[in-house]
Symmetry: D2
Subunit: 299 residues, 4 copies
Amino acid sequence: MEIHVKKEQPSASGLHPNRARMLISCPDGPGIVAAVSRFLFEHGANIVQSDQYSMDPEGGMFFMRVEFDLDHLDSKLPELERSFREVADSFDMQWNIYHAARKKRLAIFVSKEDHCLVELLWQWQAGDLDADIAMVVSNHLDMKDYVESFGIPYHHIPVTADTKPEAEKRQLEVIGEDIDVIILARYMQIISPAFIEFYRNRIINIHHSFLPAFVGGKPYAQAYNRGVKIIGATAHYVTEELDGGPIIEQDVQRVSHRDDVNELKRIGRTIERVVLARAVKWHIEDRILVHNNKTVVFS
Amino acid sequence: MEIHVKKEQPSASGLHPNRARMLISCPDGPGIVAAVSRFLFEHGANIVQSDQYSMDPEGGMFFMRVEFDLDHLDSKLPELERSFREVADSFDMQWNIYHAARKKRLAIFVSKEDHCLVELLWQWQAGDLDADIAMVVSNHLDMKDYVESFGIPYHHIPVTADTKPEAEKRQLEVIGEDIDVIILARYMQIISPAFIEFYRNRIINIHHSFLPAFVGGKPYAQAYNRGVKIIGATAHYVTEELDGGPIIEQDVQRVSHRDDVNELKRIGRTIERVVLARAVKWHIEDRILVHNNKTVVFS
Amino acid sequence: MEIHVKKEQPSASGLHPNRARMLISCPDGPGIVAAVSRFLFEHGANIVQSDQYSMDPEGGMFFMRVEFDLDHLDSKLPELERSFREVADSFDMQWNIYHAARKKRLAIFVSKEDHCLVELLWQWQAGDLDADIAMVVSNHLDMKDYVESFGIPYHHIPVTADTKPEAEKRQLEVIGEDIDVIILARYMQIISPAFIEFYRNRIINIHHSFLPAFVGGKPYAQAYNRGVKIIGATAHYVTEELDGGPIIEQDVQRVSHRDDVNELKRIGRTIERVVLARAVKWHIEDRILVHNNKTVVFS
Amino acid sequence: MEIHVKKEQPSASGLHPNRARMLISCPDGPGIVAAVSRFLFEHGANIVQSDQYSMDPEGGMFFMRVEFDLDHLDSKLPELERSFREVADSFDMQWNIYHAARKKRLAIFVSKEDHCLVELLWQWQAGDLDADIAMVVSNHLDMKDYVESFGIPYHHIPVTADTKPEAEKRQLEVIGEDIDVIILARYMQIISPAFIEFYRNRIINIHHSFLPAFVGGKPYAQAYNRGVKIIGATAHYVTEELDGGPIIEQDVQRVSHRDDVNELKRIGRTIERVVLARAVKWHIEDRILVHNNKTVVFS
């Protein structure tokens, strides 16, 4: 049922077949930028964009993101990575190089609320989400036909208190080996520590409040009861602490005493959609580094 | 040292000598708006602005604010209030009528951080704060000369853990009988329940976070440690629960990983100034009703 | 192809079968609120919400919106309207009473850009847009299958410079007699004065800039060239002056020098969607009054 | 009259005696970042922060800002600049190196509206504006006593249509040789092309609208008449085209039909203050590059 699939748009990744992105975290010290940029220059790469952030010049951490173009990237990348190890070791770096043209593969988890999923599908169709949506996983059947009409596989895996471990085992099976990031698009189940460990800093959740206000369930009801004048949503990486993981993005909107809980939910849906889509975009463009439960976002 | 006092500006209150404002809370039911507006019409008043809010048409509370003009308001107000009691009783109303031309008298409490005080003084000078700043009370001497240069009395009342009860007693003495509202413009002392009771819904505090996130001390350090992407400030009426009173106004601003605690404080100062000033403006214009620890703001 | 139609949601209108909304514009003067509210009370109506705005107490215009409940509204409305004429005439009112439970019928015009249409369809499906989408009219075929999959008729009416008058004639035919409001959801054709006259203050356009900046074509390119730091979108009623009609709603988002024209378009699409949806919502809830090419929005 | 001068705060510049900032614009091409960072590394400098922006990898402009620390910066800077010329020439760079500890000297021009001046003075006192306010120049006497109470010289230079050329000559005399940037803090006179040429990209004006909407006089009245739902302010460098220079910063706030022109002005004053202060802060921290009447702001 391809009627939903609009004409194929040129994706951002497709436009730059030789573009790579490098993410580096290391203890701060002199000469890091110089060493990295010299290395790239000497290997024939042209730096297109480079961002750094130094937590504290005296003794803190240093974070860097470099976008560069390198002719014949595909064939040269393995050698480039091998050579870089020497530079990396001398600065005690944690690092990764990503091939921009290789689209990240997403698995979207959803329960019954559909707005975040619909937004991601819409942005993907519009060519604004430069990734492959490899599958949708849900504990409900509600969105099955809709998702499949885009040609995307839909895995219905019910979850109850009793079947949770089995359900997660089944989820890991359908996810398989080559999913890069899992999006909890209003998926209303707690993820187990073992699952989280497997996808550390690769599970993005949208929480429907301005964290750390209103952790846990029914945040719009909590917000209504507290009488806040602004509500928000928060996209964060999932950790073992409920709604306590590294915050990627937040946004807010003004409300008033006239807005009851249902109206807060209605307003909140648009915030959630926008915030989650931004966080996903930054993740798939390799713009996020995590350190000490906080993110550095080179947006 | 009048050099700070710019040319006298026409105050909003001065422009409408016969303007009154009426605030009403009562259980909802049919005929309230009709009864109030008919009463005012029959007494020769002209409604200039009328706002209502009904929490829930079936069985909730009803809130109303009416601005009206009445010739010879000064002389007629007592009789008007007497006559209104019959209407009010039939709907079980809590109500007040305020004479708009009678400026409210403010006492501003401050400790060492001066930005909120400076903002209020600046808005007052600019004619944007239609009130009398009757005095400034502080547990420190830092702002004495500055405040007195505006011709405003400055009461220095030191507070220590031991002297707190005496200090509050002394504060109540200097405040006297005719202060309408107390502004805690970054006053870093807890107010006792007895004091709060005396000025119920008439003490406005500015808290330097987006409540209910980061209750208590050092909210900017808390925000930095949590890695939020947006910070805020909250103006609220003071209750016995620390930072738990009815929220009047909030605002926020986007921050990033580059902003350390000092930068958050710097950004936050502008938010605090703006939020507190708005809350004070709404209070002195009789735009706020309080119910169940929440505010209805007819802004 | 009903797969898109989620379970039927209770619409707001359905919840209040006896709810009516009254919009009034008239020269300001004493006693208007009292007269209207007394009239409604005496006819057994219960005012649920009432908003007024007085441009200028001395000699300006007065605007009022009243929501009220009246038992057996359906059968009583004609008599109520007849009786109200006397009140209305005495204050020289322009007025309308709308039955809230009668959903407004929308015709959405679209060209090739689909994001605004998709947003309206999504909000409609989610139960957030309390109206009937009676048809989509387009000068292109791109969205035909998509729209029809919702069970909504799609009228493809090509427009060229030569065929414009005929095309408008054909549009008016398919619209017929009972369309309440026309939404130009990125419809890239100028509407003729005759057409506009027929739907005065009932054609809502979304312009992809912060009007009055960047009137006319290619506003994102204009914004890029001017180097603005914030972009926006504007929903307005269509008048004979291009992009010059009464503004209903605007919103903005921060951009930077890093955002090229395509990125501005991408960011702008989300602003456009949100702004247009808000404007449509306010229109169908009878919250907008127009006077002197400006709107009064009782939101 | 030192009563206004609060305890001396450690300025940001004072904290980093060996910090320098380098701004570079040049045609884009391979190896620029590598060349600059290698040059700095080889000269013993430690890069603390580095930002780049490439308009278009194929054939556009490249912009770079580097903050670095260099021991004994004071004595080594002349030699560093000499050596850098070779690098600079090979890439056809326009460039500057600024000593961060050398505070920029500001001349603030003001007419009668005082809010922007007051904000700058307050931020300066609070230690948030890391510059020297060398003088205030005004065509009116209103702010003389106030400004002088801070120990800042106040030059009263009246301007009339007839005396304009002489007045500008007198202004240039009092400014002298060592003013780095001129702030038009609601200075209501047109600056002549000759004067602008002398301080190209060093005169910052605050315009009280969201440019390019409402160029010229009385922008709040223009905004009121157009019925916009959001107002704004714009800080820009002054060029020969009225309100047409490169935009540095903009911000906005929501308004409604209830806000008359005076209320728009009141709301706008806070936007103007914040926007101008941000632009000045970015300028004095050497964060702004200008190209083709647009700014690149590395904020």
